[in-house]
Each structure stands twice: as structure tokens, then as C-alpha cells.
Symmetry: C2
Subunit: 138 residues, 2 copies
């Protein structure tokens, strides 16, 4: 399935090999979720290594490790659409982190809605039935 | 660090090898987040394979694949503390899922607060400075 259909389509086509690819990047990483501190919206799920967390603490911007490009990814550093950190949470077993953020600039998702606006977060579709997606909100 | 200190301590000790271990389980899996539909609280992050999603759709309970036990994990199936599914969201690139849930029974986290109550979610500590954790709420 091409990128457009994957992101703007209504057909479920989950890539279950994702974590195999993620692990193959060679870095020691954990899941890192960014959540809008105010609205509660889960914006994006990425991955973080020690450097990403260190950078997030220093820059106060949600920072991930891009497992596809294999490089540090300070979200919005170039576009201006960064996610300002309010708080960083850690789970019970200390193997994931949750960035509570205030979105700056435009949306946290790289996709755009039908009006050309960047979407606030990546979870803009819900499952409807077993294999069909339905757009939620914008 | 032992389990108790990891879960109830105030020292940051993130296990950055988590996703390497997760991938080593051999299953094709993606991150699966459970969020309280009403409060917005991110409760728990787990992993899901095709069977877990299929089961979640059928049972209407948040279901994961336990990568440590390498078996299907219908959250709360035995304890009664299950997470009833309101909606299942999919991200732009279709490589993670978000369960919007209504918690039934007690908390979604296996840990207990100082009064012996199960904690509602796993993210009950925040980073305070570079390496110290502080309890948030209960």
C-alpha cells in the first residue's frame, strides 16, 4: 500500500513488523509517547534512546530517536512545530516514557486534513468493524 | 535494581534495552497504548500482534501480547480489572494502536499505592531533575 492510502485511506493495513524494524536500528530504545497536557490527546508515539531523553531534558522539547533515519529527532526543531515539555513521566517498570507537552506551531502529525491544516495528532482514525477505518474529528 | 525499588523508588533507572527484548519474542508486534476514554489518562503501554487485536475486537477488552511470557494477555481477564474498549484508534502510518477504554474493576497498573489501592495507571511518577523521580497523585 502506498503512503497516501496508508495515511489517508479507510482500509486497515497495520504494519505488525514495526517493532522488528525498530529494534534493527541497533540503538537501545524504549517507547516514548507524547500527550497534549491540556486536552489529553495522545499525539504521537515514537522511540527514545538515552541521548533523546537527555536532549529532551536539556531543550525542553519532546525528542525521539528516528529509527528509520537512525538519528536524533527533536520534534519540530526545523519546522517550528515543536512540543514543549511540561512534564516527563516514567512507567512502573521503567521501560517507557510519557512526554506531557504543550504543542507549539502547528499539529504534531506530519499529515494534513482536507483543508490543508496539519492534524494535531496521529490517531485521527478509528477502527470501524474489523478492517475499515473511519476519520474522527478533522 | 530489584522490582520494588524500580516500581516504588525515586531513582531513575530506565531499561533502554526494552525494545530489543520485546523484538526478541519473535512475534510481529506493534505498540498498543491504553488510554482512559473519560479522564484522558494514559494507563499502560503494551504490545499487540494480530491475534491480540483480533481478540480485542471480539472480546471488547484491551488485549496485548505479553512479550515476556510470550502469550496472549487479555488485560484483567482473570483479575476482573479489565479495560473495556470504547474505540480503537490507528496512527497515520498504521504501525501502532490506541485503545480508548473504560476501566472496570480496579486500576490498570499492577502496582499499589501506599494505601494498598491499585494505581489507575502506570505513569505515576515524573522526572524531577535529571535522575530523580517524584510521585504524582497517589
Amino acid at each position: 500500500m502506498n503512503h497516501h492510502d496508508l495515511e489517508e485511506g479507510t482500509q486497515l493495513h497495520l504494519d505488525f513488523t514495526k517493532l522488528k524494524k525498530v529494534a534493527a536500528c541497533g540503538e537501545d530504545i524504549i517507547p516514548a509517547i507524547a500527550q497534549d497536557h491540556k486536552t489529553g490527546e495522545v499525539l504521537i508515539v515514537g522511540y527514545a534512546n538515552q541521548l533523546a531523553l537527555k536532549t529532551a531534558l536539556k531543550e525542553r522539547m519532546a525528542t525521539f530517536w528516528s529509527t528509520s533515519r537512525n538519528e536524533l529527532w527533536i520534534k519540530g526543531k526545523t519546522s517550528g512545530d515543536y512540543l514543549e515539555i511540561v512534564e516527563i513521566r516514567v512507567n512502573c517498570e521503567q521501560n517507557s516514557i510519557l512526554y506531557l507537552v504543550t504543542p507549539k506551531g502547528q499539529g504534531a502529525c506530519h499529515t494534513k486534513d482536507s483543508t490543508g491544516q496539519a492534524r494535531s495528532g496521529c490517531y485521527y482514525r478509528k477502527l470501524s468493524g474489523d478492517s475499515t477505518l473511519m476519520f474522527v474529528g478533522r
